[in-house]
């Protein structure tokens, strides 16, 4: 096999791995949107906040220390202990569930039946609010996550695949962290799908997504389901925040990465779980392949815009998304 072809395959594999993460973040959007009609602009900031919280807890940072010091004239910064990763993750999950509960209780419960645009605006407000809370709680420094996850290229894969091509092929270069991230995201995606297909709460979730009135009549609490989907979105945000945070540090730009899910949603449809998965993979592979093949001709950096252009073209021909039913206007 020619080296160019094999490097093409490497690009596709890398694209698939990025795509799984996009799919995961897109799922966070889809679950909330299906169940409540809310497009959650705050998803990205949730990822940032979750990652900040995890780092803060692990390092034994005193939350709100600036505020406390300013009020009481103390000089607190750290408790002086570190928390094991698993425990810190568990605590972070609990905090994200509390956040979900608070969002439902203090914001969206009061907006039931409002126009989608109003719900959307509320999530924009929520995003800024959460960003501020994150700053106040944990400070605004760039942080690194010390989870001890493997990083760097996998020599093993490189050597094992080197023999596939000729002398000018040195084997597939795959980042260990990417491989791990892909595995985690894939497991989570599978778990989410299984959850919504086979469990009582998953069924209830689908029922709420389909018809609120009917769901109420069979004894489903909308409040509970909404807290549940926000909790799941919080969990997804934590995982995405950690996986991206390990790579590029926990900083504000993390909250923008979630917007990568937007073209995925345009492609896959805002209400389709399979759409989010397939859409994520297409965007992931598409942008990497485009950068590999066309990038050099146009001066590179195509990954910044390719996904959006692809989604726009797609939108023109199939506005309902990959798996959505054809929209037929009734007159």
């Amino acid at each position: 096999m020619s080296a160019d072809f094999l490097y093409g395959i490497e690009v596709v594999i890398n694209g698939l791995m990025a795509g799984v993460l996009y799919a995961l973040v897109a799922l966070g959007f889809v679950l909330i949107f299906k169940a409540s009609g809310i497009f959650n602009y705050a998803q990205g900031v949730m990822a940032l906040f979750a990652a900040l919280t995890l780092v803060g807890i692990m390092e034994g940072q005193v939350p709100f220390s600036h505020l406390i010091n300013a009020i009481f004239g103390t000089d607190l910064h750290y408790f002086g202990w570190t928390v094991p990763a698993l425990l810190a993750i568990a605590v972070t999950v609990v905090i994200m569930i509390f956040f979900a509960w608070a969002v439902q209780k203090f914001v969206f419960r009061h907006l039931v039946g409002q126009e989608p645009i109003i719900l959307f605006m509320a999530t924009i407000g929520l995003a800024f609010f959460l960003e501020g809370v994150g700053d106040l709680m944990w400070g605004s420094d760039i942080r690194t996550i010390g989870l001890g996850l493997p990083q760097g290229g996998s020599l093993w894969i490189e050597e094992a695949t080197a023999s596939l091509g000729g002398d000018d092929f040195y084997g597939f270069f795959l980042d260990k962290l990417d491989i791990l991230a892909t595995a985690v995201a894939a497991v989570l995606v599978a778990a989410l799908v299984a959850f919504s297909q086979y469990t009582k709460q998953g069924r209830a979730m689908r029922a709420v997504a389909d018809d609120h009135q009917a769901a109420l009549s069979v004894g489903i609490s909308l409040d509970f389901i909404w807290i549940l989907v926000w909790s799941i979105a919080g969990f997804v945000a934590l995982v995405a925040g950690v996986l991206w945070g390990v790579k590029s540090g926990v900083q504000f730009s993390l909250s923008l990465i979630a917007l990568k899910a937007l073209p995925v949603l345009m492609l896959g449809g805002f209400t389709s779980i399979p759409g989010a998965i397939v859409g994520g993979l297409i965007i992931g592979v598409g942008e990497k392949l485009f950068e590999y093949l066309v990038g050099p001709l146009v001066g590179g950096a195509t990954e910044n815009w390719f996904a959006y252009v692809l989604a726009l073209i797609f939108l023109v021909f199939r506005p309902q998304g990959l798996f959505g039913e054809k929209i037929i206007e009734r007159v």
Binding site: F195, Y198, T199, K200, Q201, R203, A204, R206, A207, D210, D211, Q213, A214, A215, L216, S217, V218, G219, I220, S221, L222
Partner: protein
């Protein structure tokens, strides 16, 4: 007099028990509109209770009060001897009160089978984490629920459309699926809002038979709203008549039919 005895046996041999549900002086307003004005009536264990009246009389509103979708400004709801606190619809459903809607509220994206299955959600005990850990119990429960659902599907003779997405069904069958979903919950009290609206004669006959059979075989108490007087007279043990949010009659079909207020309401106001 039926109202003073605790239980009695009907002409067709069914036993009607004591009071199950009692509405006391219910008043419901929407802004300036009084949908229900100071209405009281009761529903007895095992009976088929009809609510009739011209369009806009407040019948659906009353059903919505019973099922917790609307909350009256005044009055009390008593269920099985206890005053009911203000409840959300899902809490009412969990008490064993199932319902159908005048405008049909089904899960359009799901199959008939999945729709009926949602009626069992309240019967499922094993929760989210139990299902992950305690596989045996979850599976046993799933099998039991499937069996119960299949019985309902057989009972209502909708086997042929089990796997059909509900969105594709004609109106009459949708009404039947909605009934199936309500029945799957094995309710103590079943509320039906115009179960036969928009049906042809044959479909109406089927639906009437199902309602009678449900009441007879499972002992389910039924409150139903219906415009077709023939159907009401055939099915119901007692009838409440409403007009402009007020109660203008209450009694057996014969009593109600000969009540002058009722006759006036029906002659004066158009209905379908």
């Amino acid at each position: 007099m039926k109202d003073t005895v605790d239980s009695y046996v009907t002409a067709d041999g069914r036993t009607i028990g004591g009071v199950m549900m009692e509405m006391r002086n219910i008043t419901l307003r929407f802004g300036g509109v009084k949908a229900i004005s100071d209405i009281s009536f009761d529903i007895r264990e095992g009976e088929i209770r009809a609510i009739i009246g011209p369009n806009g009389a407040g019948k659906s509103s009353m059903l919505n009060v019973i099922s917790g979708f609307y909350h009256p400004q005044e009055g009390e709801v008593w269920f099985r001897g206890a005053k009911r606190p203000t409840m959300k619809p899902y809490q009412v459903a969990q008490q064993g009160i199932a319902r159908t809607f005048q405008n049909i509220a089904l899960f359009e994206g799901m199959t008939v089978l999945d729709n009926v299955m949602t009626g069992r959600l309240n019967k499922m005990k094993v929760g989210m984490f139990g299902q992950a850990i305690w596989k045996g119990a979850a599976e046993r429960e799933e099998v039991e629920n499937r069996e119960a659902v299949e019985r309902v599907i057989d009972f209502l003779e909708i086997q042929a459309i089990r796997k059909t997405p509900v969105g594709r069904l004609p109106y009459g069958l949708k009404k039947r699926v909605e009934l199936a979903r309500a029945l799957a919950a094995e309710p103590k009290l079943l509320l039906l809002d115009e179960p036969m609206a928009g049906m042809n004669v044959e479909e109406k006959e089927d639906m009437s038979r199902f309602i009678l059979d449900v009441n007879d075989e499972f002992g389910t108490t039924i409150a139903l709203i219906e415009h077709d007087m023939g159907v009401v007279m055939d099915l119901s043990d007692r009838v409440v008549v409403m007009d402009y949010g007020r109660k203008i009659g209450d009694g057996t079909p014969d009593e109600v039919r000969n009540n002058q207020d009722v006759i006036d309401a029906y002659l004066g106001v158009s209905h379908d």
